[in-house]
């Protein structure tokens, strides 16, 4: 800071660490409610459900196999 005791009109830059800067106002998210169910969102969530169902069936099949319920393994 001592170096600043130069009275010439000289351009300088101040860099503030994010944690030492004043808090910035972020995008408001509360009160928005659920996401709008556009066609894209519906299809994506449906695909996700199908995927998770498939994974669950595989998991159940695998566990059943390990437990000897399917007469395998």
């Amino acid at each position: 800071m001592e170096r600043l005791q130069n009275t010439q009109a000289m351009e300088v830059f101040e860099v503030v660490h994010p944690l030492r800067d004043k808090a910035e106002k972020k995008l408001q998210t509360t009160g928005l409610g659920p996401i709008e169910m556009t066609t894209g969102v519906k299809i994506s969530l449906m695909m996700l459900r199908v995927y998770l169902t498939l994974m669950t069936f595989m998991l159940v099949y695998h566990v059943a196999g390990l437990a000897g319920i399917l007469g395998r393994h």
Binding site: Q8, V12, F13, V15, H17, P18, L27, I35, Y51, H62
Partner: protein, 453 residues
């Protein structure tokens, strides 16, 4: 935040406020709290260094114990033939994590909290519980690696594991995010040693460069082992906890809108560094390939490499395995603690002292301590844990990434400025489809092995 000031303005009026350049707002005389530099490049560099951290940490912590095992195995089984895959994964990891950083900066909130808010409690709880579960199982594998590597160096697991756990707990309970970040960045940079090890094993750099730039498959039949390994490499390079970790970390560091370009650079450099380190691991595995060394885990390979490559390589691989596990453990435990604390409405910040955020720290400590304790149980079925990690990661990664993509297309939430551009969406949907397919294949291979012969 970067401000352009006139020197005499500082003395005449005190501190200037706002992202000046065009419209300076002069406040009352208060001391300048930032660093003042004279050159544009200096403030760019300094700002980058201040923002730097979350991107490198999230990427390099992903080179955890499991990743070391996968990459070394890739090298030991197929030499340098799969190096091109790492280059291919570089942009993929970057694009996924860039979205996370953008969402974190725009909202200042974690990923699970956003899923709760926009997709409801059911999806929120599903994401949170799956994340917590898969993270915990992964932590067990990290401590197993610590135990394995240090036991090869003559340190009993009953000493190594509790001491590591205590160190990992001490790392976060100091009440300073910056202290934690600086130490963890130091741990990340220790991974530079992988390059020295790769150099020490006399890799053929010309062939390595060729195999990095020219995609190709190992000679012989494309069998289930190869497919499994390719899927495992992809799954290792893009882990579900990374999405949750970086968004929370960016929020914790309070990155500002103006920091986004530096956060992107941080993420890109982190991705490049991580992929390069992974490549070095493959080169070390390649030495095992060239000498036809059989092994079950990287610690065993390191010991077998000792007589061929020397003590530096042997001990280096073992110690770097420990470093990888420590990095993975602190990042994964924090991902869990941040997510759980935010959803529960607790104080959930490393800026808080332990008595100010007891529940948040309790989650972190419980994750670390329980995983460490389980590893010390005799005859613990580690193979079941590893398979469970793969299965549950296969559940959480596609779902987390779908929510991420939908959130980044949410106009009501992000407005026009922060949402994905059309080209973003093309790239991201392609990545998502590929990840869905690979996750499904991996799960099918783990759970229905008969399908693959």
């Amino acid at each position: 935040m970067i401000r352009t000031l006139q020197v005499f303005d500082l003395f005449r009026h005190g501190r200037a406020e706002g992202t000046l350049r065009s419209e300076p707002k002069i406040q009352s005389a208060v001391p300048v709290t930032g660093r003042v530099v004279r050159r544009k490049w200096q403030h760019s560099l300094l700002t980058f260094l201040m923002v730097f951290g979350p991107g490198l940490i999230v990427m390099e912590a992903d080179n955890d114990a499991g990743a070391v095992s996968t990459y070394i195995q890739a090298g030991a089984q197929y030499g340098t033939r799969l190096l091109w895959l790492m280059l291919l994964l570089l942009p993929i990891t970057y694009f996924v994590q860039e979205m996370v950083a953008r969402l974190g900066i725009a909202t200042g909130k974690g990923h699970v909290a956003m899923i709760y808010e926009r997709f409801g409690k059911w999806w929120g709880r599903f994401s949170l519980l799956d994340l917590m579960f898969v993270n915990f199982l992964t932590l067990i594998t990290e401590f197993a690696a610590i135990s394995l590597a240090l036991s090869k160096l003559g340190i009993s697991p009953y000493v190594a594991v509790p001491v590591s756990a205590a160190g990992l707990i001490l790392l976060v309970v100091t009440g300073s995010y910056l202290r934690w970040e600086r130490i963890v960045i130091g741990l990340c940079l220790i991974d530079l040693t992988w390059f020295a090890l790769a150099h020490a094993v006399h890799s053929n750099w010309a062939i390595s460069l060729h195999d990095t730039l020219v995609p190709g498959l190992p000679p012989g039949r494309v069998d289930s082992n190869l497919i499994y390994l390719i899927i495992a490499i992809v799954g290792t390079t893009i882990a579900p906890w990374q999405l949750f970790f970086q968004q929370s970390c960016v929020a914790e560091k309070r990155l500002r809108f103006a920091d986004l370009k530096w956060a992107r650079l941080d993420t890109l450099l982190g991705a490049a560094f991580t992929v390069a380190v992974a490549g070095a691991m493959i080169l070390i595995g390649d030495l095992g390939f060239r000498h036809r060394i059989g092994f079950e885990d990287p610690a065993q390979l390191a010991v077998a490499l000792g007589p061929i490559a020397g003590k530096f390589v042997r001990n280096g691989v073992l110690l770097l395995m420990v470093n990888a596990a420590v990095l993975g453990t602190t990042a994964i435990s924090l991902a869990s603690a941040w997510a759980y604390g935010e959803v529960m409405g607790w104080q959930h910040s490393l800026h808080k002292k332990i008595h100010e955020a007891p529940a948040f720290y309790a989650v972190y400590i419980a994750c670390v301590a329980a995983a460490a304790a389980i590893v010390l149980v005799p005859r613990m079925p580690l193979q079941v844990v590893i398979i469970s990690v793969q299965v549950f990661a296969g559940l959480i990664l596609p779902s987390a990434i779908i929510f991420l993509q939908l959130l980044l297309n949410d106009h009501a939430l992000l407005g026009d400025e922060w949402i994905n551009r059309r080209w973003n969406n093309w790239i991201n949907w392609t990545i998502i489809v590929v990840l869905f397919a690979l996750s499904l294949l991996l799960a099918a291979q783990v759970m229905l092995p008969n399908l693959f012969g």
